[in-house]
Symmetry: none
Subunit: 413 residues, 2 copies
């Protein structure tokens, strides 16, 4: 089945916002054996009509994002109803949901906002748990007089679209593709090994399995390995992957590293603290993004200044004086200080030079140390990531978390 993604939004075409919808949708529909054949981005307003009308015959499934909000340039709903020859009718359930949502937020219900409760007759409402604009699904040929594809209208903000896609769109897609041959999929999340090393370790053996499709995707400090094919082949491939990569795989459920760690800590009723200099709160942020983090995460110390390292963590000023704030000794002392001050079982420490300023010939921008205290000897690793500031923070945080993962026992599947 041909799949088309139409992204609407002037902000995309002005470069104010990066289009993450295409990637998200592509990855989500992949396990169903669906691929995006073409993607299109157009500004808000009447360009949406052209994009949709030109492409109604170009695909069996169209995902259209954006233009469902309350402002005047949000006209996706109206354009679709017009092109499909369908009336727009007020959905009483939606009207109530929107009214209640506004009431709990003490926002006044205006006519503009209420437009979001209008639905092309016969369309299925896809609930939006994170915003007021619902998604809509128009089944293929909804108006028998007009040949149309399956059309999904989805909200523009990723935090609204993504949960809606998983909760409401994927079940419908499974129905749509049921009759097509189902291809199975496995994915492995790998940390501590680069993409080309992963390929070197398993690529040749996997490619030798005829009928198996494989893909790699490198992200910040981690690699996804994806396998697609009939189940029997996947079993065969799985044995190869585990034999070669077991200790580097942290999830086969597409979870992130912090989610796995919070669960592992909770399972052994252990607690964690972090002492951050160069990661600047990012480690704490990642850990506290995990629901239930408060059971295991006690405290984070973002000790950016030398004074804060001493005052909050008890790192001796003489140690900083002697070795420098970015050093093996200070990283270790930060982790140990955080453990002691918080009473946590485990603790992580980070110190480094994120740049752009602050580098020296001995310690150039990109130098970092990560440390782990608790559960044995304090460990410190030296790292070097000469890159931009945010990437640096992400890579250092990832390696720090991986220290903890290794100490907690490594493999989890």
């Amino acid at each position: 089945m041909r799949v088309l993604v139409i992204n609407t939004g002037t902000e995309l075409l002005l470069g104010d916002v990066i289009n993450t919808h295409l990637g998200f949708i592509a990855r989500e529909i992949f396990p169903l054996g669906l691929r995006v054949d073409r993607q299109l981005a157009v500004p808000d307003g009447l360009a949406i009509r052209d994009a949709l009308s030109e492409n109604l015959q170009a695909a069996e499934i169209i995902f259209l994002t954006g233009g469902l909000g309350p402002t005047t340039d949000d006209i996706t709903r109206e354009i679709t109803a017009e092109l499909f020859g369908l009336d727009l009718v007020l959905d009483p359930g939606l009207q109530q949901t929107i009214s209640e949502r506004l009431r709990t937020r003490a926002i006044r219900l205006t006519d503009r906002i209420l437009r979001q409760a209008m639905v092309p007759r016969g369309a299925e409402v896809l609930p939006n748990d994170n915003g007021s604009a619902p998604g809509l699904y128009l089944t293929a040929g909804l108006n028998p007089r007009i040949p149309t594809p399956h059309l999904f209208l989805l909200p523009g903000p990723p935090r609204e679209l993504q949960p809606m896609f998983v909760q409401s769109v994927l079940p419908i897609l499974r129905r749509i593709v049921r009759e097509h041959e189902l291809i199975a999929c496995r994915s492995y999340r790998i940390v501590g090994m680069g993409e080309s090393y992963v390929e070197e370790a398993v690529g040749a053996q996997l490619l030798a399995i005829s009928g198996l499709e494989l893909g790699y995707c490198a992200r910040m400090g981690e690699v996804d390995l994806r396998l697609l094919g009939p189940s029997a082949l996947l079993e065969q491939a799985d044995a190869i992957v585990r034999a070669k990569l077991a200790s580097f795989i942290f999830s086969t459920e597409r979870e992130n590293l912090e989610t796995v760690l919070v669960r592992q800590l909770a399972a052994r009723q252990a607690t964690l603290a972090v002492a951050e200099s160069c990661t600047g709160g990012f480690l704490a942020h990642r850990l506290t993004n995990v629901p239930g983090a408060s059971e295991v995460f006690l405290a984070g110390y973002v000790t950016y200044s030398n004074e804060a390292k001493s005052a909050a963590l008890g790192v001796p000023a003489s140690l900083i004086e002697k070795f420098g704030a970015v050093s093996e000794s200070v990283a270790g002392a930060m982790a140990e200080g955080a453990r002691e001050k918080s009473g946590a079982d485990f603790s992580l420490g980070t110190t480094g030079i994120a740049g752009p300023g602050g580098g020296t010939p001995q310690k150039p921008v990109g130098t970092a140390f990560v440390a782990l205290a608790g559960g044995g000897e304090t460990l410190v690793r030296q790292l070097f990531f000469p890159t931009d500031r945010e990437t640096f923070k992400q890579l250092v945080a990832q390696l720090a978390l991986n220290l903890l993962r290794q100490r907690l026992g490594g493999v989890e599947n």
Copy 2:
């Protein structure tokens, strides 16, 4: 002039790579008064031919990225020559550049690689300082028998495309647009007011200015208002926007809130600390993403447990006992504690219930308090954002930063 961007590359449509070309090109051409009217992404191979041939009349300027490399699916050069009715000829200068490049890298010159020295007759070569595939520029109507637009063929890797665009493409574009009227643009970043309220405040008055185009873009806790049109109209619109929204505008330079705050603090040589419970390190993370943050940001305390609130910040256990950790009093005490412990001039505190667990009838999930200490009386605001965990953190952090912005003097333009 209508501008089209065609991005080629199967990796884009599989979601393995995020398309950064559209945003980059859009931002680079904007100062020339050019805007991208439409963007299209297609896989490698023959889909490129369809995308290009369908759209030859759809724009005056086309940027096509990818498909210029040495592998078999790189056929952009050949397809373009065929569609434009032009021969492909070997460019001796290019041949030499490519040979030399390979020699210094000890890579063998193969026929495949040498294909990159073939040029549609009459096309201008755009040198590639960071890779072997050159870019190509075909001027509009290069073959007088076929009506064609200005076409730029650009390499797929961003680190090759971006310097080439700045060095070679922009000068050509300046030549192309010289005669056209320049359209200007203003953008306003707004915090503390929702999208529909912004529209209500200025929408009608701005829409009354004929020839002015406006757009809204809502992000986490902020709204972008964008105006496009001839300069005289923009002046008129600017007066309206400032009269109505002045105290909510934090940037007209498309900066984020933390960047503005770090600059404002640095300008007055003031320092900042943060005490975070429900934002869990995200405030510190945002602030430390700003280059130069270490000049103003002293310390962050991510006090997730009650014990940490008392131990790290000196919040009296009795206060937590009496009012609860999520309370006006504790938020204020956290901010004041962080200020005192770190010696910072200003400090922010956050406490709340991110959920999904932990809510009570009196304090449901979504309840939060943000506090500001320093520069006057300690301020505390109660918030309510019943949403997912990450959005909650972002919205609370945004409102906390806005407290500081207001105290520092509000408007900056």
